[in-house]
Symmetry: D2
């Protein structure tokens, strides 16, 4: 058994198959994949890695295994899946996932190929585990996969607390011990036992509060859009494949961007934190449906059109349109009066959070600071944004700050 | 200047009039008034006092004074009011406030009389402050009184963080520095500046999550009802006046209850934590309006009727009906797009919290454990409670509760 | 099983005999015994109780039991002993222990009588445990008693962390998980396994740093001496016996002191924090051996002599002479290169801590502020204190502050 | 003014010259320089950067400026020096400092050249500051330079707390607010005011406890030695200059090591954490003086000799001999009884720490795991190490170590 000191969970005991998997290159690579990517540009302390997060998820799944009294091979499977659940992340985690996905069809939880690399699959087999089975658990398949990827998974419990610890934003401070103690299976579904409506709410509330302040902070989004822009160019202008890009670590991605002539200007901007500014920023209701639903190609064309108008190079204009909030019902389930019920039926808070998600939605147009005012005016007009629910940049925003949500 | 070490805010610098007020008997008495009263029976670490809380409120008001650039005598007034804001609390803080209020007409923030006692009023006058003026600030009067008692007051900011620290429940962990940095006055109203919808929400959410788990935990409510019962009896059966009762500290109240023959049985129960149990527990919609609106006397009569039926003494039955949630709109104001707006208009979360408040409402009937089943059945019938939204003690599942030991 | 939320250890699972013992009056009384007594006068947040500390010790012993793989009845015994280890404490914990000891011959860990009261002994027997056996474990008897009372006991691990949490002084922040993981038995002795010299040092260092700043802070010592003075008077002037005094809780002690005419003046001073001041304060080397070794009676005579000189009542003068540091070798043992060695042989730090203990020793003479200068001069002369290593009060010390170690 | 959220100090207000300096490339580069280098291999959460540390030092110097009432240009100078104090660090901070120093003659605090680059020197001059002057403050020159680099500097206060926060090791938890409140100048020297012997001790104790567990953990030392080895080779085998190497960031160093054929094997080992193991590990007294004083060339020769014996390539053997602890007296000064005294004269603890420093000294020989036993035996013999105070790898018990996984 190895004891590892963690800044969040204190001592983590790693043993068995998890201990063996720790030494594989795919796991060690996660030390160099930052958990929150460009959120570092907003919160300078947010330098934690997917490696420590993976250890945390392993730690929490082990506690859940204990609570749920899961034994034998099922236990080993879950521990392996927990530790490996993020090995499919590309550099800067989610930041360029959409780019690599467009080329490879794979999101970060599609780890089938990686899990079949020799060092991992040999290790798994040594402990009697089937790699394909573990890959399936990671996407949330089967009853036990809900612990790894589902509404009540331990992944989220770890990242909320860890991101709060490292950013310094307190909103993610959930009571993960109580959540795990409350877990139970009912008819094959992972639910929270009686008396836990509140506990379930607190998990969703924590995420809802962290979202605009941390995960969707506009400065992080701008830097992410620039990085995505650079990554797209890399694939277009060099012979680096999307599969190769996805297997880089943060180090290699940045050094490559600096060296390739078509991306070096963006790389320098990121290195020196000379980020684009918001030329325009609009609420959901102010954006015409046809803009919200623009395809990848249409967005690139609109960018080019704005760039032409500004007489600048097309990589200097970024249109950032997040997907429409799906408003799927929260699928968390809680036992109330002996029945399994949807949390959303029990909790007025949860339905409000769904509304809030839409209200927090913003689209943006980002350009170098000096062109912001002109680009804002032009883009607003071009895209038919309503002026009431948007703003155009007329001033400089602070560079390294957290304290502006709406500006 | 005196530097005081605080478990929540680290070092608190106390100077000027605040330093002088600290040495008055009325302030020192707060060392022996527990902040959360019977919440100690649920959270054993919740032994913090009104004294440390008052220091915390003084600390935060001093930070707000700095942010808002308040000078001279206004500054001194606010610091005095912050430090003194809780001197009107009776023993066990809010726990027996309703009892003393019925006799004296005074709530804890009615401190006019106490503030005019010699040691305090002399100290205030020495620093050029008028005691009546300070008493008014404490009830939230005038522009600056909003900092002491209002929707965005520093009182709440301190107690949420402090109660979270001492109970161990993380939900109160707000970002009080950011809240204070965001404060501003607009047209004489205390509001949060632009970009703070989220910050305001987090304050209300924190309170909403702490409420059922800490402040209204059913075990704390049972113990509080027993204490209130005992206090009422004390006033009826002895020549202790309500005014005297209100000026006792926790020590004296408990020792007195142990000594008076009519209260010693209840005192022993509290000392040994042999609390009453819930005979019946009902949701808002399950309770007929006439029961929710019963007067003090009607409730006592209903208790007596149940006691007669159970052939027990009337102090062994407690009916606990909280006031109907007022559903007043949240009056927090935030600047959005240059206008002062109601937070409730901007935030779907806040309206949900108002709904949640009603949903969390419960009435209870408490009796000694051995009579619980019988009392529950009888009370349900007597009061016309609907069975769907209530439970009688034989179904032991608590609805919204943390682990409640010895209940 | 009951889950209790603790501000230090988060969730504590209490089961079996421990769960049953929790409901006994002797355990519930500990809710009203403050852990640090008059340290509250220095650190306003230090209001934690022996009850929460006892739960913490139970929690840590359970972890140690797990590490050491202790099974069956031995496990139950240890858990009972851990939970009960402080039931012998009088009001304000150690503060008046010397007084009650002089009359009863019993320190706080002499719990034989209390453990044989019906509610506890019946509970123990129900779980197959012998009360006398548990009482012996509490004084550190037998191999396993070392876990409860010994150089490496879990008692100390809990109180250092808990006292740090509640005072806000960070020096007690030890790595208790690592300490417990390192515990092992070698030849019947509790030792720390290989690689733990550092871990053992940190425990001793933490205590050494907490000592002058928290446990022996001069303001806490003054208040303690006043409380002791008052307690002595209570025994002399009333028919309250030392055994009764020892079984009071904090509430009853304070209310009694207020009511008895011979102690009410001291009680009022404590209630209002009008503490005596140091008239004189002297280092070890400045105090003649005959003074350091004065008997109880000799000290009282010297106090009376000073009081006569000051024309005041004898309870207004307190001479406070701590015992000479015993300089016993630290008996912590650590495995180094396969041998059990004394920590003091391995660690230069530990020997230094023994020297430091002597250097931190101070004797004091305390009187009401207005007599301090005169009393200091007279006492220095009377007791033959060397002026180099002492000081006489010439000024007022701050009342509610931590920041003066030497003044 | 910009407000930055920090995981350690919460909100940091950055303004004036500091705000302007933040946007220079030299400062932004520090985001990609890890604070603790290879300590990451022991503590997976220790991914914090020099950037956040520099912000912390700026924050603390601003507090010290307030305490010491430093005004005008002196204030601006100190704030600039605090923020810039680490811009001279090479990749992985101290890890390859000795290598670049041998070629360039510059340690990390020699920032004269960097501070004269256009973006920084222009910014400084705009605020009326002289770059050379700031560079001198950074090396501790002048009275105020003591705040940046001296026995009581704020640099150390930040890193101890920050390193504790991110590693999870609690020993660095000092009371930095109290330390800063205690600072004062006496005869041009930065000292701690009366009553702070304890405070000063705690700072030194914290560092002494962190040293073997964090900064000198043997696994971090092994990885550091491997990195140093690789860096030396890079300078020898490529045309990268030491000055260029020093200006790389972590990203570029690692990617370069991977690409250069002479270093790619070591880079792969570091990427995959297949670290060398200790073949031999010896205490100070066991190592002959001539070995402890070996020159750079002599050490390389000894390594080559062992490599020849093992029939392996010379980069596979590393001899790691730390400098002899200098045992300089601690120069911290504290005011005691009105005089400025050396802390070491007042504190038995501090002299013990000097002894401890020597006792914690270890030299090591590191090789790939499979050669460890053979290399250990041969090296012990070759270097004339006494067997009593050393171990060869077959005895696997580490002497003073935290759990070291994959070692």
């Amino acid at each position: 058994m190895t004891v590892i000191k963690d800044s969040v969970h204190n001592h983590i005991n790693v043993k068995g198959v998890a201990r063996a998997l720790l030494d594989t290159p795919a796991m060690q690579r996660l030390r160099r994949i930052s958990q929150l990517g460009t959120v570092q540009f907003v919160y300078p302390s947010a330098n934690h890695s997917r490696f420590e997060h993976s250890l945390g998820v392993y730690h929490l799944v082990t506690k859940a295994i204990d609570t749920l009294d899961i034994q034998g091979i099922q236990m080993k499977r879950l521990q392996a899946a927990a530790l490996l659940h993020d090995i499919g992340h590309g550099p800067y985690s989610h930041n360029i996932e959409l780019v690599t996905h467009r080329y490879t069809g794979k999101y970060h939880d599609d780890v089938d190929e990686i899990i079949h690399t020799e060092s991992i699959s040999d290790t798994l087999r040594e402990y009697g585990l089937d790699p394909t089975h573990i890959a399936n658990l990671i996407t949330g398949d089967e009853t036990y996969g809900q612990l790894i990827a589902g509404e009540l998974d331990v992944d989220r419990m770890d990242y909320l607390v860890r991101d709060a610890h490292h950013t310094g934003v307190p909103y993610g401070t959930i009571d993960h011990e109580r959540l795990i103690n409350g877990l139970t299976f009912a008819d094959g579904e992972l639910v929270l036992g009686a008396g836990n409506v509140q506990t379930a709410e607190s998990l969703l509330v924590a995420r809802a509060l962290m979202n605009p302040v941390v995960y969707q902070h506009h400065v992080a989004r701008i830097a992410k859009a620039m990085l995505r822009q650079a990554a797209e160019r890399l694939l277009k202008e060099t012979d680096i494949s999307a599969t190769e890009l996805r297997r880089m670590d943060d180090y290699e991605l940045f050094v490559t961007l600096r060296k390739v002539s078509e991306t070096k200007r963006l790389a320098k901007r990121l290195d020196e934190r000379r980020l684009f500014k918001r030329a325009m920023w609009a609420e959901f209701s102010a954006v015409p449906p046809r803009v919200r639903e623009m395809s990848y190609e249409e967005l690139r064309e609109a960018e080019a059109e704005i760039a032409t108008q500004l007489e600048t190079d097309p990589t200097s204009v970024i249109i950032d349109v997040p997907p429409t909030p799906t408003m799927t019902e929260s699928t968390s389930r809680v036992i109330v009066s002996g029945e399994i019920r949807q949390l959303s039926d029990e909790s007025p808070l949860v339905s409000a959070l769904r509304t809030a998600q839409k209200q927090q939605w913003r689209m943006g147009v980002y350009v170098p600071a000096k062109m912001a005012a002109e680009a804002g005016a032009y883009a607003t007009n071009l895209l038919g944004i309503e002026e009431d629910g948007s703003f155009i940049t007329e001033y400089e925003t602070p560079l390294t700050t957290l304290d502006d949500f709406t500006t």
